[in-house]
């Protein structure tokens, strides 16, 4: 017998079968997302405020949000905060760009040709475990104490990780994509340019985004070397004078600059690779 839809008697159903936000991997609307995100920022801020305003806590140990904000203002008006930020951003991006420009072709070669991988990968693996801080005396000896030395430290801190991660991105290009090109008559150079590099691009940009974060973590280390400006240098100097509020400002500013750069990378990703960000 055939049945037709719509003839079933109506029955009282449970309120809704839709899974709530607490279901495993459940849905979260945009508004709810921002609500929780704001909560995640405001709760720690509130706790900080409460703890720091307690009478038992010395300001040298833990300055409150208000103290930190006041210090931000005086740093901006009296101590030329913008030039500190500018020089630090300059050092980080320059060191980072040098890394990226050298790492990219190397990673393409390592991920494509096994002999190159055999020569370079163990070596890179070995060097990346060496602490970047320990290179400071050598950098001073070889590069001097100019601007280039700070850039060198950031380069050393990011380059070796970057090469390995990018090589992995290149290796993850599906073999079928490469072989399809070969059976369409692609030469070696064409396969690398038109397939491998194109296919790896989104992952490579993600790797750049992640390593940019690491470049910022090496800023303080880099500004240990005979610096007299910059956010990292200011943090170190503030430590000497027990200006805890200034340390807070420096750390928070580095965090914020990092956050902005991260968002810029994500925006670039959406613009450059629209097929990965389609609404289904």
């Amino acid at each position: 017998m055939q049945t037709r839809p719509g003839t079933r008697p109506r029955r009282a159903r449970p309120k809704s079968g839709r899974p709530g936000m607490w279901a495993i991997r459940g849905p979260l609307s945009r508004r709810q997302y921002w609500m929780f995100a704001a909560l995640g920022l405001l709760v720690p801020l509130g706790l900080w405020w409460i703890v720091s305003s307690g009478a038992a806590v010395d300001k040298v140990f833990l300055p409150g949000p208000v103290d930190v904000f006041k210090r931000l203002v005086t740093w901006y008006t009296e101590d030329d905060l913008l030039s500190d930020m500018g020089i630090s951003i300059y050092r980080v991006t320059t060191g980072f760009l040098f890394s990226a420009v050298i790492a990219l072709p190397l990673a393409l070669m390592i991920g494509t040709f096994r002999p190159v991988q055999a020569v370079l990968e163990p070596l890179t693996d070995f060097i990346r475990y060496m602490p970047a801080v320990a290179f400071i005396p050598l950098v001073m000896l070889w590069v001097g104490i100019e601007e280039s030395s700070k850039i060198s430290i950031i380069f050393i801190g990011t380059f070796f990780q970057m090469v390995l991660m990018m090589a992995e991105d290149v290796r993850r290009v599906p073999l079928a994509q490469i072989e399809a090109a070969q059976t369409m008559g692609a030469q070696k150079g064409e396969t690398i340019n038109l397939v491998i590099f194109q296919a790896a691009k989104p992952a490579l940009l993600d790797t750049l985004r992640v390593t940019m974060g690491w470049a910022w973590t090496y800023l303080v280390v880099a500004e240990l070397v005979a610096a007299n400006s910059g956010l990292g240098y200011s943090i170190l100097k503030a430590q000497r004078f027990l200006q805890t509020d200034k340390i807070f400002v420096g750390i928070i500013l580095i965090g914020l600059i990092g956050l902005v750069m991260d968002q810029l990378f994500r925006l670039a990703h959406r613009k450059a690779f629209p097929w990965l960000h389609l609404r289904s």
Partner: protein, 278 residues
Amino acid sequence: MTTKISIQQVGKVFGEGHRRVEALKDVSLDIADNEFVTFVGASGCGKSTLLRIIGGLEYHTAGEVLVDDRPIMGPGADRAMVFQHYSLYPWLKVMENIKFSRRLRHGRENLSEADVEAASGRADALLALMGLTPAAEAWPNQLSGGMQQRVAIARALMGRPQILLMDEPFGALDAQTREVMHDLILHVHRLEKPTLAFVTHDVEEAIYLADRVVLMAPRPGRIDTIYQVPLPAEREQDMKHTPEFLHLKKEILARIRETSGMKTDQGMLDQLNMEGSV
């Protein structure tokens, strides 16, 4: 009929020492021009390896493979390959994927205006043939699995390959989509007249499409039996229910079971059933 592909005592060994695996041993087969040959067999029988050797993506360690009486030297545009999946370029729209071979050097060499125009017309024609015209400006990841495979086939055909190699191209598709694709690929075969070598694990598909079904056996990979398909050249879905078809299907399935080296242990099954019922 002239021989298009001649496989002569081909052997393939992977690895060295105790990891040495003989993937193919003493495989000989002649495939005629415009013939449609399908390869079936238990896993590990080397059917994909053989296809990849013809495509120039693997190199055989013994014997010879000739295409038009010339030994193959690596992959080339005369032997296009269609893979099971992940072979489309997700950063190119459907039309750009199909025209990919035009961006390659050999696709640009000595081109006159008329050639370029003809190529563009061919891309449009292939798009229409595959029923993809409305999807020309879509990204591959917006398409269903069946549509993606149509793009892959159109792209492979774009360079007018004399040989089309297909490695389980419909293996990831659902049964209904697969039937549509079967008639489509038969249509392409009639229209474009490539020589077609097609690897599959689906015996029904192998019979329905092919002039000959080559059954391979594992350990070491070798050709076991070659079946001539007793169906008229023009295939229709209804033929799948004819006694000839069903008989051949049964025969091939039984032979694959025999050669797979895996037997169903009836005693063990009975024992499991007994324990389950207690």
